[in-house]
């Protein structure tokens, strides 16, 4: 295995493009090293992107939007009070991944590019409308987060392409987001179901919403029908029931060691209601 420490994304991209064998980018390493250890993937070339300037930066842009470096660890997000205040749902989703120790290393981008449908940080990013900047041999492009995963363990990125930044929109007034996941224990499990809700209120009425579900389909889903069930309502009981129904209806899960089809489908609706309640309260100014 060759270990590379490029000093720019252009270099990282070139190393990856020129490599002939299996390539992995190393940010936090909390998936890459597990796969290495378990003999699932032993890369021929491992490209450590943490030596690239700016990868540890959390920046609030002039328009209120956020740019996060690709090596920002979960713990660094949780410790960032302004980011936490703007996008608690995204930060919570990231914070739920693994242990305190894993939080010292794991990154949003690693979680996204690992391609797991159960990735805890991805529904929050999708609900927020986040994008990633992708650097490749031919330059950079911006891709919506929901367009990155292609299926379990796969992404839509081409050979030689590397995510070089995460872009989160400005929070805006009267908005709130939340992420909840279901696991059998209190910590340390992979999500059996995950749900993020991001919404904006005008008074008591929801004017805009995005709902995303994890672990209920081959990729994390953006569920437009679930958002429709919320928009225009005051999150009354009927809206919550419609939300739950839409969430459950969007599920296309599998039976596996972590949960059943029946269970995931039911709990997706339960979590959607609960997450919507939290997001609604946050949008109304409650902490």
């Amino acid at each position: 295995m060759n270990y590379h420490t490029p000093a720019s994304f252009a270099d990282a991209s070139r190393i990856a493009a020129e490599a002939t064998g299996t390539t992995r980018f190393l940010a936090g390493g909390t998936d890459v090293l597990v796969q290495l250890r378990a003999d699932i993937v032993t890369p021929d070339d491992l490209i450590d992107i943490k030596h690239i300037p700016g990868v540890k930066a959390i920046t609030r842009n002039a328009d209120g939007s956020w740019t996060l470096g690709v090596a920002v660890a979960g713990a660094e997000m949780t410790e960032h009070a302004e980011l936490m205040a703007d996008w608690p749902g995204i930060v919570e989703g990231m914070d739920l991944i693994g242990s305190t120790q894993v939080q010292g290393r794991a990154t949003l981008v690693g979680n996204l590019c690992n391609g797991s449908p159960a990735a805890d940080s991805v529904p929050g990013m999708i609900a927020a409308g986040a994008t990633v900047t992708v650097t490749g041999p031919d330059g950079s492009r911006e891709v919506a987060v929901e367009d990155v995963p292609a299926g379990p363990g796969r992404t839509t990125l081409a050979r030689g392409e590397v995510v070089s930044a995460v872009n989160i929109p400005a929070r805006g007034e009267n908005g709130g987001d939340a992420y909840l996941r279901f696991i059998p224990r209190t910590e340390m499990d992979i999500a059996v179901v995950g749900c993020a809700v991001n919404l904006t209120r005008d008074g008591d009425t929801i004017t805009d919403a995005r709902v995303s579900l994890g672990a209920v389909a081959p990729t994390v889903l953006l569920v437009k029908e679930a958002a429709k069930a919320l928009i225009g309502t005051t999150l009354d009981d009927a809206a919550l029931e419609a939300l739950a129904e839409a969430a459950s209806a969007a599920c296309n899960p599998i039976d596996d060691k972590r949960g059943t089809i029946e269970f995931r489908t039911h709990v997706a609706g339960v979590l959607a209601k609960r997450a919507a309640g939290i997001a609604y309260a946050r949008a109304g100014g409650e902490k």
Binding site: R37, A38, D39, F182, P184, R185, T186, E187, M188, D189, I190, V192, D256, K257, R258, G259, T260, E262, F263, H266, V267, V270
Partner: protein, 747 residues
């Protein structure tokens, strides 16, 4: 040895700091994987990816061609012509003609680095002919199930059962039909539990050195190094005493480190390569190929009168223990109804082979499953008859003189005392939150004596060293030191207890069966008494009086009787200081297989909140009440209570072996083999009940195992009460509980 009835203890019952504490908080303590030897090689094991297959061919040529690879061993490198349990052990250690489960070892490799060994293991080419497999106990007994091995059944199995049924038992007394007829309520239910793993955090590890002269050294993490010696000697064709085994500090065992898995492979690799070989299991190997406990399928029927008296009970217990005989159905049957006085009782047990790893002991092996079924039915009887579950238990609880369900009468035991303490505990009467249920259950473990050898020596300064053969898993060195200090009358700090290697003592059984504090403790006391006799003799010689006129108290010899006051007392330090010129070293020694081990009963109270929308269970309050006989070091008694409860909580709620359709283990990492984490649990309250064991001078009962027996039923009853649905399958994972809540059954 009888109870001293001593109550004025000076050291026993105090909570001094443990002697190994400093090393363990500074990272200096050396565990199985912390040993290194000059010129050492690293080993790796080639394992089967199939649940059941014939080995057609093993080609190690590519592995051997890799630079740095020094040896490859297969079954041919081990003893041939073994029989019985030795053959089972070897077959499990390294496969012969067939692989019998996912992860079954096929070959071992030794190389100059761990990475090269791992690479080489991948290059060992094994050709398999895949065979049909079976992993479920009920499926394995059914007609047409794949046969693991013809002729494996022993004499106990009646004709007509499937060849996978390899042992059978049946016993009881009275007239159960008449008993059921006399009951006001009879409940009969079927139960099922999944296999679980001991989950010790330290994977198996060893460092082996074996020469062609048949002399060997083995360092390993084990609960019993004499067991390791015997097993390795048999599997490698060695003379037992030519192999010296040293037990490292041990990172948890819970029964799972009472046998061998990789140690014989490391020894064989060392013998073949001529170099020391270190072999360490990965977590995945531990889960796939060490010794998890059995899974069980059970039918229990019990009858009760409306005033709460049991009239009859029957239980059928089918257990699989992997691809070899040994599922602990004997202990399950014997202990299932052990809490209750029953004139009419009947038990039946089946030991069934499946394509899973050979089960090993796990804390009270076999008892928790039986308790789950029996205590759940007892609870349902109480519910049906409107009886308080503690009052009803008190009506049936065994006490001294009660004939046990398995035959002999009980000596002094503390079940009633734990039940009364439970009833009086504030937890039992505390109000319950919404969607929360409370469960009560009792359990028993009969404990064990076992071969025990202890040596004690007085140092030249009057301090004391004790050599024991039972590895210290949870603070037993502190307990032994307390007992030695108490007996000799010197400060705790003046005693050092060492777990010594197999060359230093006679045979010792492992730290298992809750026997270490009882048996090694008893032998320590006896060895101390022998040394005291010698100390008194030296004083008598010096004073020129008869030894009978010397009394030992507070760490010194005192003239007594007609000589009282004639001489100044001689302290242990003074006598020890002159040892060399008064007859030589002063030691004490004791060898025994003590039989006065007293069983320990426990009663647990637990509150569980169940989320009605997701079926997720949260233990909100937990209280353990258990009879310790006499708590030598109460901190470590409480620790055993709390640890047993925590393991039981895991077993009840989330832990399980999950095999896929392909017979392969699907959850071979801690991510998916879900043991309780810190945030899953509440504080675990403890009450130590002390009903002295008449078979130990200070009244000690082993406390290690009982604590895992009541949690399964207690938690199941709590969930049943929280949801209104009787839970009969473990684990009570959220999907299963949600189905019950939704009225879809408990399967």
């Amino acid at each position: 040895m009888a109870l001293d009835n001593k109550t004025d203890f000076k050291y026993i019952g105090t909570r001094p700091e443990r002697p190994d504490g400093l090393d363990k908080v500074t990272g200096k303590a050396r565990y199985g994987a912390d040993a290194y030897a000059p010129g050492m090689l690293h080993g790796a094991v080639v394992r089967s990816p199939h649940a059941h297959a014939r080995i057609v061919r093993i080609d190690a040529s590519k592995a051997l061609a890799l630079d740095g690879v020094k040896a490859v061993v297969t079954r041919a490198d081990f003893a041939q012509d073994l029989e019985g349990e030795d053959w089972n052990l070897l077959e499990n250690t390294i496969a012969g003609e067939k692989v019998l489960y996912d992860g079954h070892a096929v070959a071992g490799v030794a190389a100059t680095s761990a990475l090269i060994a791992k690479d080489a293991a991948k290059l060992v080419d094994v050709e398999y002919e895949v065979l049909p497999h079976v992993t479920d106990v009920d499926a394995a007994m059914a007609e047409g199930a794949p046969v693991l091995r013809d002729g494996a059944a022993d004499h106990s199995v009646p004709d007509g059962l499937h060849p996978n049924v390899v042992r059978y038992t049946e016993f009881g007394r009275g007239d159960v039909e008449a008993g059921f007829a006399a009951a006001d309520l009879v409940i009969e239910r079927s139960f099922k539990t999944e296999a679980v793993h001991q989950g010790y955090i330290e994977p198996h590890a060893c460092l082996a050195q074996l020469g062609t002269d048949g002399k060997g050294e083995l360092w390993c993490c084990t609960q019993g190094h004499w067991f390791v010696r015997r097993m390795c000697a048999a599997l490698l064709g060695l003379e037992a005493t030519q192999l010296r085994v040293t037990a490292s500090e041990i990172g948890g065992g819970f029964g799972g480190k009472t046998t061998v898995f990789i140690d014989p492979i490391a020894l064989a690799l060392s013998r073949k390569s001529g170099k020391p070989v270190k072999l360490v299991m990965s977590r995945s190997e531990v889960l796939k190929a060490s010794g998890p406990t059995a899974s069980a399928s059970m039918d229990v029927k019990m009858g009760m009168t409306k005033d709460g008296k049991l009239t009859a009970a029957t239980g059928t217990f089918r257990m699989q223990g992997g691809a070899f005989p040994g599922a602990p159905m004997d202990m399950t049957t014997m202990l299932a109804f052990s809490c209750y006085e029953l004139d009419n009782v009947h038990h039946e047990g089946f030991d069934v082979m499946t394509n899973r790893p050979k089960q090993a002991a796990y804390r009270a092996p076999g008892a928790p499953m039986g308790a789950f079924a029996v205590e759940s039915v007892f609870d349902e009887l109480c519910e049906g008859l409107g009886l308080d579950p503690i009052d009803a238990r008190l009506k049936n609880a065994v006490k001294e003189g009660t004939r046990s369900s398995f035959g002999p009468k009980y000596k002094a035991v503390g079940l009633i005392e734990t039940l009364e303490a439970a009833k009086a505990h504030p937890h039992y009467s505390a109000p319950l939150a919404e969607n929360t249920g409370r469960g009560i259950a009792s359990g028993y473990w009969m404990n064990w004596g076992g071969e025990t050898s202890v040596s004690l020596a007085i140092g030249e300064d009057g301090t004391v060293q004790v050599g024991v053969g039972t590895p210290d898993i949870g603070g037993s060195r502190a307990s032994m030191a307390l007992m030695a200090a108490e007996t000799i009358g010197i400060p705790y700090e003046n005693v050092r207890v060492n777990v010594v290697d197999t060359a230093a003592l006679g045979v010792n059984e492992p730290t298992h069966g809750s026997r270490a504090t009882y048996a090694s403790g008893l032998a320590t006391i006896e060895a101390a008494r022998e040394a005291i006799g010698k100390l008194c003799q030296r004083a008598a010689d010096k004073w020129g009086i008869d030894v009978d006129a010397v009394e030992w108290k507070d760490g010194a010899a005192h003239p007594s009787g007609p000589n009282a006051g004639d001489f100044e007392p001689l302290s242990i330090a003074e006598i020890a200081g002159e040892m060399g010129s008064t007859g030589g070293p002063i030691t004490g020694h004791h060898d025994a297989s003590p039989t006065g081990f007293g069983g320990s009963f426990g009663t647990h109270i637990v509150d569980v909140h169940v989320d009605p929308e997701t079926g997720r269970s949260t233990v909100t309050r937990y209280t353990v009440i258990q009879d310790a006989g006499k708590a030598i070091h109460p901190d470590y008694v409480e620790g055993q209570f709390q640890g047993g409860a925590a393991q039981g909580i895991g077993w009840a709620l989330n832990e399980e072996y999950i095999y896929g359709e392909d017979g392969r283990l699907q959850n071979d990492v801690f991510l998916d083999y879900r043991i309780p984490v810190a945030s899953d649990l509440p504080m675990i309250d403890t009450v130590i009940v002390e009903v002295p064991n008449p078979g130990h001078p200070y009244g000690v009962r082993g406390v290690g195992e009982t604590g895992i027996t009541p949690p399964l039923p207690a938690i199941a009853c709590a969930v049943s009460h929280a949801t209104g649905h009787r839970m009969t399958r473990l684990p009570m994972s959220p999907p299963r509980v949600l189905r019950a809540i939704q009225g879809k059954g408990v399967s």
